[in-house]
Structure formats: C-alpha cells, structure tokens
C-alpha cells in the first residue's frame, strides 16, 4: 500500500516525503504553521515555517522558535523530496494555504480560509492541485454569508441605537482576526471615534496596526476613568469575557456577537446575545463548494469540522471526497 502524501498525525498532518507536519498540536521537529490561531499554532517545533506577514502575531502567540522562517506568498522552499509554497488563505493576517509538490502529485492544504473580502489580509489565491485538503467549519448549506458591507451596516445601526438609549454596545468577537477585521471595516465606513478594547485584544491589534492595517483609535477598557459608564460607547471583547466580572463595568449594555454561528437563531438565543452579526473568517457553504472546483482537484479531503455532508454532496457531483478527523490522531497517540 502506498501511503498518501499526507496522513493525519499529532493533531495535524504529516508529510513523510518532506518530513514535516502541518499545524501539529504536539511537539514535532519541523512544522509549517498556516496561521496563529490556537487550534493551528502550537509551540514546540524547533524548525518552523510560516507566511511572512504572520510572523508578528505568531511569535506573540507561541514565542520565538529556534529556527523560524517567514516565507513570502508564492516563494518556494525545498523540504526533503518536496517543494512547499505558501499562498494567501484570506482567513486572518498572515494566514496561508500550503501547496506541496512531490512525486505523488500536488496537494493543496488549507488551514482555514475564506473568500469574502477582508481589508486586513491578502485575498485567497486558488491554484491547481490534485488533492485539495479543505477546512469544513461551516459544512452545511444553511451557512451562507451576507456581504460584509451589509453586516457592518447592521453593526453601525445597532451601535447608534445603543447611543440613543445611552447604553454601552458590547461586541463580542474573537481576539485575533475578527476583532481587527471589524475595526478595519468600521474605519472604512468612516468611524473615527475611539473604540474600547478588552485587554486580550490589545497586543494583537497593535501587531495589525504596525503592519499598516487602518483602524479607529483603540483604548483598553481597564484604563477608563473611574465611574465611566461607557454610555453609547462601543466595546470589543472576546467571547470568553461574556459573563465574567470584567463585564460589570458596562451596566445595562446590549451584547452582540460577530460570528458565522450567528446565522442560526438558536445559537444566538442559547448564548443569550441580544444581537448576532453574521460575519465569519471561514468559507461559507457556497464558497467551500466553489473552491473545490477552483482548485481543480480530482480529490477532496475535509479536515476541521463535520465534513460528512460536504463529502456526500461532492460525491453526488462526481468528485471523490472523504472526511479526515485530525483530533482523533491526537487522542490515539496520547492514549
């Protein structure tokens, strides 16, 4: 039996021909990290490759590996018997998809990706490959994103409603990527007022700013004057802050959450958010399907998320597809 070019291992993917792992969750000696989110980027590898624009956020998150190489998008590097090239994934600043050319053929591996426009990072770039390894976070057709402009309009309207009622507008979003995308979209919509940030968002937002991403002025909420009631002010916080004592400083606030999951009403109601804003850094169903054909792949493998429906749907279209569970390998290995 011939081993495929990539196999699930260590919570990520292992390439024997090049002796490297992509997004491993356990310590390995050589890794390619697609982007800095915690479910993809872990410290522990001595030799690390990543896309150059992602270096500041990555080192902020995992520290400085012994041997760290930042690759330009499109710049190739020889690893073992393979040639590896990173392409923009459009997911967050510095995110990449990985093209691996080897004797067994050409594989494309997405960490996470999206096709919707995002002012904070380079747009996804498709390329032909034999096998496309696709994330599948939102693998059902109910996940279809409205245009970001429309959603930014909803956020602004909600903020001005809050202003009229003298309430703080607390907007929950992931601290890396989403928060900066929202800020940048707000700047593009003409927002010049300062926005308050939760502490977890400060250094990451600074990384983005230093790389030239345009955002409104930001201030840490903890540095507000004593007695500040944040009436009519916009506050950005990570979802983990919801329900924490930190929130006590925003009396009578209205809570919004920016996420693809907000497409489903039950998800929002269950978490008790007043408003859900459907904006995701992942591909929606139509873009997952479209990207498979843009990559011209004859085989698709889904990772991250429940790929069963996408696999069956692609099968119906005559594309060979299967779902891999990377987490499983982590558990087996550690058991």
């Amino acid at each position: 039996m011939n081993e495929p070019l990539l196999v699930p291992d260590a919570g990520g993917l292992y390439c024997r021909a090049g002796d490297f792992w992509i997004d491993p969750l356990r310590a390995v000696h050589r890794s390619i990290i697609t982007h800095a989110h915690a479910d993809h980027a872990r410290s522990g590898a001595s030799e690390v490759y990543t896309a150059k624009p992602g270096l500041p956020v990555l080192t902020h998150r995992i520290g400085q590996p012994e041997d760290l190489t930042g690759l330009d998008y499109g710049q190739s590097v020889e690893l073992g018997d393979t040639r590896v090239t990173l392409f923009p994934a459009g997911h967050i600043l510095g995110s990449a998809t990985v093209r691996i050319e080897a004797e067994q053929g050409t594989w494309g591996v997405s960490g996470d990706f999206k096709r919707a426009p995002d002012p904070t990072c380079a747009a996804f770039e498709p390329y032909p490959c034999d096998v496309w390894v696709s994330e599948c976070t939102f693998g059902l057709p109910v996940y279809r994103w409205p245009s970001p402009k429309e959603v930014v309009g909803e956020i602004l309207e909600w903020w001005s409603d809050c202003s009229r009622q003298d309430r703080p507008a607390v907007l929950f979003c992931y601290a890396l990527g989403k928060a900066q995308r929202v800020l940048s979209e707000l700047a593009a919509a003409g927002v010049e007022d300062a926005v308050w940030l939760h502490g977890a968002m400060l250094p990451l937002t600074e990384c983005y700013r230093q790389q030239g991403v345009l955002m409104p002025p930001t201030r840490p909420a903890t540095e507000a004057e004593k007695g500040e009631k944040f009436k009519g002010q916009l506050v950005l916080a990570p979802p983990s802050a919801s329900g924490s004592p930190w929130m006590r400083r925003f009396p009578k606030h209205s809570a919004g959450f920016v996420s693809g999951w907000m497409r489903i009403r039950g998800n929002r109601r269950r978490r008790g958010y007043d408003r859900g804003f459907v904006m995701s850094d992942h591909a929606d169903w139509p873009d997952l399907v479209r990207t498979c054909s843009d990559m011209q792949a004859s085989q698709v493998i889904t990772i991250h998320g429940n790929g069963e429906s996408l696999v069956r749907h692609l099968g119906d279209q005559g594309i060979q597809a299967e779902a891999w569970n990377l987490r499983q390998t982590l558990r087996q290995a550690s058991a």
Partner: protein
C-alpha cells in the same frame, strides 16, 4: 407583514422583559385592529390548522434551492427548526415584498392554501418565498408550519394589552380564555373598557396556579391561616354549568367536550351559573387509580363502554369560582369553600369535594405528607384561607408541597439534538439500566443539566459517537446520571416493560461507573410496592 416582522425583530433582539413589553405595546397601539388580533393569536401560542405538510415543504425547499433532499434533512437536523431551515436554504427573494399586512396576508393567501390543490398550493408557497425575505419570510414559514414560539410568554402579551387598554391584566387574561376568532371585533373587545364586555357563556376563568414550596411549611407563619388539601395527580379542569349547558376546560385551555360523559351527566345536578375548579382523576372505590389509566381517557374523544368501565373518572372539586352567576374570585378562600359545599350539596357522583387535610400545627403535616405514596397523591397543597382566586402563577397564597421524587441511576446510551433554543446541541438523552447483562432503555430526559454541563456533554457525545440512526446517536455507555421521576407503571409498549412519569436529570454522577447503575429489577420492585424506594 412588515410591521409584524419589525415587532418580531424587536422582541428577538432583546432579552429584557421591559423592552419586550414596550415593543408589544408600541405595536398594539399603532396596528390595525385585525392585525393586532392575529398578532395576539400567534403570540399567545394559538396556531392555524396545518395547511401544508412538512414533507411537501421540504421537497419544495429542495426544488427551490437546487439542493438534494437529504441535504435539506441534514440541515434541518442541524438547525432544529424547519421554518428557519427553509428560510436559510431558500435563495434570496427576487421580487419586492407585497405591502399586505399580517391579517391581509393570512386571509388572502395563507388560509386559502387549505382549499387549493397540490400544484396550486406549491406554486403559491414558492411565490411567497420569492417575494419575501428576512424576518418576514421566516415568520411566513412559521405560519405555514404551525408553531410559533418566539420568546414571548402569554403573560407578557396580556400585560402589554392591559397597558394599552388601561384595564387590569387579569381581565385581559379572562378575555383571552376559551374560543375566539381573531378579527377586528375581537381586538376591540379585548381592549374594551371594563363595562361593555360580554363573555361567551363557554368562556372559562384563567386558572390560578400554585408554586412549589421550597422551604419548610413553618416559614408560612401561623398554621390556622392555612388550609391543607391532597395534591391530586390528574388533569386540572374547570367545569362550567351555565344556562343548562356544561363545558369542561383543561388547564391548557382545551375544551374536553364529550370526553367525560359521566361528569357531564353529573353536572346536570348543579345549579345554573356554577363554575368549579378541580382535578379530574381516574377514580374507583374512593381512591385514585394509576395515572396510566387516566391517560387512556385523555386521548379518547368519545370513550366506549369498555373504557368507561375500566377507567372511571371523578371530578374532585376544590374551588368554586362562580355561584348563582356571580364571580366569586375576589372572595376569600374560606368563603368560597362554604359556597363550594353549598354547590356540591345537590351534586351527584362522580362530582365530589376534594378532601381537606385537617391539622392544628405544622408539626402534624410531614406525617400526612409521608402517606402520599400510599394514598396515590403527589403531596399536599397549602392555601391561605384569606386568599382570593388570582390569575396565573403568583407566589404567596397557594403552595404545592410535593413528596420527594423517586430516583435511580441510569446510563446514557442515546442522544439526539433538541429543538428551538437547544437546536444543534445534543440535549435529548435516553438512559438505560442493567438487565440480564444488557443495558435496557427505560427513560428519556430533556431537562436538569446546567448549560455548562450540556455543552460539555455535547462535545463528549460528538467525539464518542458509536453509531448514527438519523438524528439519533448511540454513544459509549460510560456516563451515569441520577434521574428523578414521579411514578412508575407497567407498559407493554416499552421494551423494558415499564413507563415512568416525568423523568428528569437530577445530577451527573461522575463518581459512578456503569456497574453502579441500577437494574431493571430495582425499578420493577416499585411497581409492586410504591414505598420500596
């Protein structure tokens, strides 16, 4: 439709009661009466008779979205709400939405669907989908599928109407009872001044509900201000005798005409203008029969002779809301009890008084409550003697002091996603006990875990699924839960041979292994001796 959708958005975008209340009041103030009537109809939980079956709706959604039918099913399983699933899958609307109001849309388009042939109905529904989008389309789908829970309680609607009408909310609650047709006239009557009101003869009074007593009865103050009664485990009912006619209403505001012919016959002995509140019980030889026998009566619209003989019923009356045509709800309980006795003095079996439990000091009550299982009751009711008959669940005057439930330790073996708020989360669980070296399912439970526990269990279920049968997943039998239930009865329909009343999760017993779970024999012992636990 636009205004109604805007109301829905306002309600949906807040979790605060006051914000919801003012959204409702604002809507009622500006809406045309016929639209307001329909809004009240849906928001208080009434529904249209099903106009389109859900299989058709799924097929039409598949067709309109260009997706395979199985993908519609998988999406529905994930979202947990068919109306919402259809809305999310359908392509964006291509036409301008018509300006029809809620009432116009229902009268001109939704209701006529029932009379159309299949092709015309499909065409009309798909046309609606092409015209409306956003919350409007979601709500139209809700109308088509019947269900309408949008995070507003009937009580809240009642309060908003009371505010708009400037009358007491208990009067609105009364006006909302019973059968009515949503139209302009109805709405005018709903918000009319106190004086110019005429009720239908059949209209019941809103029920007054007891709250669970969490502290000891001593906390209620002087015992001689209180009356104790047995808490019956039957169907709460209101019997109305007016103008030589009888109506029987359940607490769910369903008319139970014809279901209990023995009660209707006995009610003829009551004086006109009498309304009784009580419990319908399966009853023989002065004591309750198991609830499972009463269940054989609930479903039957016209019970036959055999059923009537096997499961005879009685109305145990414990309150008198009207006598001689006079509304007595403002009188103290003590006086109403006297009137009740007077009303029942001419009554014939099986309409009879519920029993009062005599006591002088709080210290005597626990021993009485301990007899509950033996007597086939759920515990005691404690009612303030000077209390008037209020509307809905108001704390303070009526308490239910139930016996501790039975409990057992079961193993989680199946899970399935919930609906609505709990869609997309595994929240419906099946539990099993040991029998002959196997695990036999005995109970399904939906409630009792905290949101944190639900989330954790959900993640565990997703990564420990053994097999999938449609929406149901079988999981590794590892986790043990303590479940509480109210009663147990033999059931030939269940593999285990038993059926439990109201099982729910008490605790996640992470300290127990599956060997520690109970056996079917442990549970069957309770069938023979209800006090064996």
């Amino acid at each position: 439709m636009k205004d109604f959708a805007a109301l829905f958005d306002r309600l949906d975008r807040t979790t605060g009661t006051n914000a919801k209340l003012s959204a409702l009041a604002d809507y009622f103030r500006q809406a045309r009466p016929e639209d307001a009537a329909w809004a009240v109809y849906f928001l208080t939980g009434r529904r249209l008779k099903r106009l389109v079956n859900t299989r058709e709706l799924r097929e039409w959604t598949a067709e309109a979205s260009g997706l395979a039918l199985w993908l519609i099913e998988e999406s529905y399983e994930h979202v947990g709400d068919l109306a919402e699933t259809m809305h999310l899958l359908l392509p964006p609307a291509s036409a301008e939405p018509p300006t029809e109001t809620l009432a116009e849309l229902i009268e001109s388009t939704i209701k006529p669907l029932a009379q159309m042939d299949d092709d015309a109905r499909k065409q009309r529904v798909q046309q609606l989908w092409g015209q409306f989008d956003g919350s409007e389309r979601f709500l139209i789908n809700k109308l088509l599928t019947g269900g309408f829970r949008v995070g507003v309680s009937k009580r809240l609607v009642t309060r908003a109407l009371a505010e708009v009408a400037g009358v007491d909310s208990s009067l609105i609650a009364h006006r909302l009872m019973g059968k009515w047709t949503p139209d302009a006239d109805l709405y005018q009557r709903l918000i009319a001044d106190e004086t110019d009101l005429d009720f239908e003869q059949s209209t019941p009074y809103p029920f007054f509900l007891a709250s669970p007593l969490e502290a000891e009865p001593e906390s209620l103050g002087e015992p001689d201000a209180w009356q104790a009664e047995w808490k019956w485990d039957g169907i709460r009912a209101q019997l109305i005798r007016r103008d030589g006619q009888t109506w029987i209403w359940s607490r769910g505001e369903e008319r139970m005409d014809g279901r209990f012919p023995e009660l209707e016959a006995a009610s003829e002995s009551l004086p006109d203008g009498t309304v009784l509140d009580g419990e319908i019980m399966a009853w023989r030889d002065d004591r309750p029969l198991p609830f499972s026998l009463l269940q054989t009566r609930i479903g039957r619209k016209k019970p036959g002779k055999v059923t009537l003989e096997k499961a005879p019923v009685a109305l145990l009356a414990y309150d008198c809301l009207e006598f001689d045509g006079e509304d007595l709800r403002d009188r103290p309980l003590e006086q109403r009890m006297e009137t009740l006795n007077r009303a029942l003095s001419t009554a014939s079996a099986p309409i009879q008084p519920s029993q009062i439990v005599a006591f002088d000091s709080w210290g005597q009550l626990p021993a009485q409550r301990d007899r509950s299982r033996e007597l086939g009751v759920e515990g005691l009711m404690l009612k303030r003697l000077d209390s008037c008959y209020q509307v809905g669940r108001k704390r303070g005057a009526w308490w239910k002091w139930k016996v501790e439930p039975y409990t057992f330790d079961g193993v989680l073996i199946y899970a399935q996603p919930g609906h609505g708020r709990r869609s997309n989360l595994f929240t419906d669980y099946t539990f099993a006990v040991h029998h002959d070296g196997e695990l036999v399912p005995v109970a399904k439970a939906y409630s009792g875990l905290t949101q944190k526990e639900i989330d954790r269990l959900d993640r565990w279920i997703r990564s420990n699924t053994k097999e999938r049968f449609g929406p149901v997943r079988s999981v590794e039998p590892i986790h043990v839960f303590e479940l509480a239930f109210e009663g147990i009865a033999p059931s030939p329909r269940h593999k285990s041979g038993i059926a439990m009343r109201f099982p729910r999760i008490h605790r996640w017993r992470e300290d127990l292994r599956i060997e520690d779970a109970d056996s079917l024999d442990d549970l069957k012992r309770l069938l023979r001796d209800p006090d064996a636990a």
